[in-house]
């Protein structure tokens, strides 16, 4: 990921083919009486294929909004955004849904497993929206994926019978079952204890590297972000790189304040 206004690749890093590119992206919402609230401002970001990124930030800094935009769940208010070289900031929702289904996997803080379904049915679910081959072979594909995550003996267990760590592993399996090029993890360890969180993060990091997927982890936990190859801090709607030996808060504090204030609608 390269915020191209202020960040450059280190000499050790090989340039990766660009998967996701954001240029001057902002997101604001109306809050009544003609006023708008800017949540994200001037986000510039490039994510290479297979790259692992960590974004840290406190609650209310716009982390989830950024993730929603990256995952094509939300559209930027201004700016340009490319996914795999294709402009996606103004695409129809149906096209966004197809890209999302095929190329992007989500891991949520609260797991968001489908209630009442077994682990296997949960992992099968994305394959229902896939190709004919994926639909026909969904059981086999999902079984193999759960096996890779060490849940081969939990196939028929429903979420309420699984531990938090197991549920998050099912969610990871579900996110990866269609072999997406990008995995977006929103506070993936937020609902887990420290030890389980580390284990789950280790699994997520390892399996995405193994499958060549890019991983963007949005978290408030610095130790989780530390597992990424590059890290950023999100503070008051602006993205700042985190370099070695510099705490993100400290870096964020140095950054100019974002326009997270109400202003007149243009």
């Amino acid at each position: 990921m390269r915020p191209h206004s202020s960040q450059e690749l280190s000499p050790q890093q090989e340039p990766l083919p660009s998967l996701l590119s954001l240029r001057h992206v902002s997101r604001s919402v109306p809050i009544g009486e003609g006023r708008i609230l800017t949540i994200l401002a001037d986000i510039n970001l490039e994510v290479g294929a297979g790259e692992h990124i960590g974004v840290v930030g406190r609650s209310g800094t716009g982390k989830s909004t950024l993730l929603n935009i990256l995952g094509l769940l939300d559209a930027p208010t201004t700016g340009e955004m490319d996914f795999d070289g294709t402009p996606v900031q103004q695409i129809p929702r149906s096209t966004a849904a197809r890209i999302r289904g095929r190329q992007i996997g989500f891991v949520f803080q609260q797991f968001n497993l489908l209630p009442g379904r077994t682990a296997l049915e949960n992992v099968e679910a994305p394959l229902m929206y896939g190709s004919g081959r994926e639909f026909r072979n969904r059981r086999q594909i999902a079984t193999e994926m759960l096996g890779r995550l060490g849940l081969g003996d939990r196939l028929d267990m429903k979420p309420n019978r699984l531990s938090g760590g197991e549920q998050q592993r099912v969610a990871i399996a579900r996110a990866l079952v269609r072999q997406p090029r990008l995995v977006l993890a929103d506070e993936p360890t937020g609902a887990l204890d420290v030890e389980t969180g580390q284990q789950v993060m280790g699994i997520l990091d390892g399996i995405t590297r193994e499958s060549g997927s890019a991983l963007i982890t949005i978290t408030h936990d610095l130790s989780v972000a530390a597992m990424a190859s590059r890290r950023f801090s999100l503070h008051r709607g602006q993205l700042h790189p985190v370099t070695a030996d510099v705490a993100p808060e400290a870096l964020a504090a140095l950054a100019p304040p974002a326009e997270a204030v109400a202003g007149e609608r243009p």
């Binding site: 989830s64 929603n68 995952g71 769940l73 939300d74 929702r93 149906s94 849904a97 197809r98 890209i99 999302r100 289904g101 095929r102 989500f106 949520f108 968001n112 489908l114 209630p115 009442g116 379904r117 049915e121 679910a125 994305p126 229902m128 929206y129 190709s131 004919g132 639909f135």
Partner: protein, 400 residues
């Protein structure tokens, strides 16, 4: 496209399986409503068919015209009967009428082994069995060759045979004719008696009518079965034609079957039952719609999760709709099955269709209407929740 359809059906089935208690509760109303509707349609149709069958046995098929032909100045002689017969044959050939028959009805007293047996004697032609749906249970009906038979052939009903003391399974058998010095008739077939019969029936050909008693002459009434769409016109044309051929005779015609009375007798009852069942169906649909809407609100998070997998609005709409349709189709099938079992139950047959010689079959139209209505109800009840589901904002849904 095909994959999407099958995937939607699989999704819908999974939803129904996971939420089976809710589904069961919401579908009881639909199942009962579809059962009621199928019962009404089936019952009405069966009643109509059964009544039509009975009416046709009593007064001929839709549309039968009776022609009354007699010479007002003198009694009908054999010669007159032959002229009338020739005129009828001419008219039938000219207008392409396939089925017509003499129709005379008299009281006859047949000497039997243990005394005389009273019977109603019907003087007819060989076509009469087709026109009145008379199927011999034993033996056979008349053929054209029987007209030449010197020993008059007769077809009797089981009531007469029972009174006379003849086992229908042993036909043909002979019976004595009244006042003819030992002349016998041959019973060639037996038809079933109506349930309301109080006296036996005998059917004889018009050529042999005089042999069954002194007062029994050649019939002066004849029935013709016309195609319904041209019946009125044919009735007038044949009457005119017969008058032309028989200038001395008084020829009158009128429609004599009961088919026209069918709608009058059954229509209002069917309509009332139909309105009641549609109201029941409407209430069942409202119940389903209500539960579906509440459920959709509870499932917003799940819909958001599915959208994150790449489910499009169309797919979500179709999935929610399919859930409703699959559920009501299953409920409808159960309702239809229940209705068929009720209609076919022996006690229903005995009570409702009592007196009908041939209990009617459960009509296909009732089954088809029941299933189609259940699918339609599912689509209608699924429409509003499906629209609600597609309008959910993904982000809000996931956070719900």
């Amino acid at each position: 496209m095909i994959t999407s359809f099958f995937a939607s059906v699989v999704e819908a089935w999974q939803e129904l399986r996971v939420h089976k208690v809710r589904v069961l509760m919401s579908l009881i109303g639909v199942g009962v409503a579809v059962c009621a509707l199928t019962l009404v349609v089936g019952f009405g149709d069966m009643m109509q068919k059964g009544l039509a069958d009975e009416y046709e046995k009593q007064a001929g098929r839709d549309t039968t015209y009776t022609f009354s032909i007699y010479d007002p100045s003198e009694a009908t002689t054999e010669s007159d009967a032959a002229k009338v017969r020739a005129a009828l044959d001419n008219s039938a050939e000219r207008f392409g009428i396939s089925y017509y028959s003499a129709y005379g009805q008299s009281e006859a007293s047949i000497p039997g082994p243990s005394g005389s047996v009273d019977a109603t004697l019907y003087v007819v032609d060989p076509s009469f069995n087709v026109m009145r749906r008379l199927e011999p249970e034993y033996g056979r009906w008349f053929t054209q060759d029987d007209r030449e038979n010197m020993s008059p052939p007769v077809v009797a009903d089981t009531f007469f045979l029972d009174e006379y003391g003849i086992d229908p399974a042993q036909l043909p058998a002979t019976i004595d004719l009244p006042g003819q010095g030992g002349l016998k008739a041959t019973v060639i077939g037996a038809v079933e008696s109506p349930a309301y019969a109080e006296i036996g029936s005998l059917y004889a050909l018009s050529e042999h009518s005089s042999r069954f008693g002194e007062g029994i002459t050649s019939p002066t009434e004849f029935e013709m079965w016309f195609p319904p769409e041209a019946a009125a016109e044919l009735g007038e044309q044949v009457t005119t034609d017969l008058k032309r051929q028989l200038p001395d005779a008084d020829v009158q015609s009128y429609r004599s079957d009961f088919a026209a009375d069918m709608a009058d007798s059954l229509g209002p009852v069917k309509n009332v039952l139909l309105v009641i069942s549609i109201l029941i169906l409407f209430m069942g649909m409202l119940g389903l719609l209500n539960i579906s809407l509440v459920t959709i609100q509870q499932r917003i998070r799940e819909i958001g999760i599915r959208r994150s997998f790449g489910a499009t609005s169309v797919r979500i709409f179709f999935s929610v709709m399919m859930e409703s349709v699959v559920a009501t189709t299953v409920a409808g099938a159960v309702g239809v099955l229940g209705a068929v079992l009720i209609l076919k139950a022996p006690f229903v047959m005995n009570v409702v269709f009592e007196g009908m010689t041939t209990p009617p079959q459960v009509p296909f139209i009732a089954v088809a209407v029941g299933l189609l209505v259940s699918i339609g109800v599912g689509a209608l009840a699924g429409l509003v929740p499906a629209i609600v589901a597609t309008r959910v904002r993904i982000i809000d849904a996931i956070r719900a």
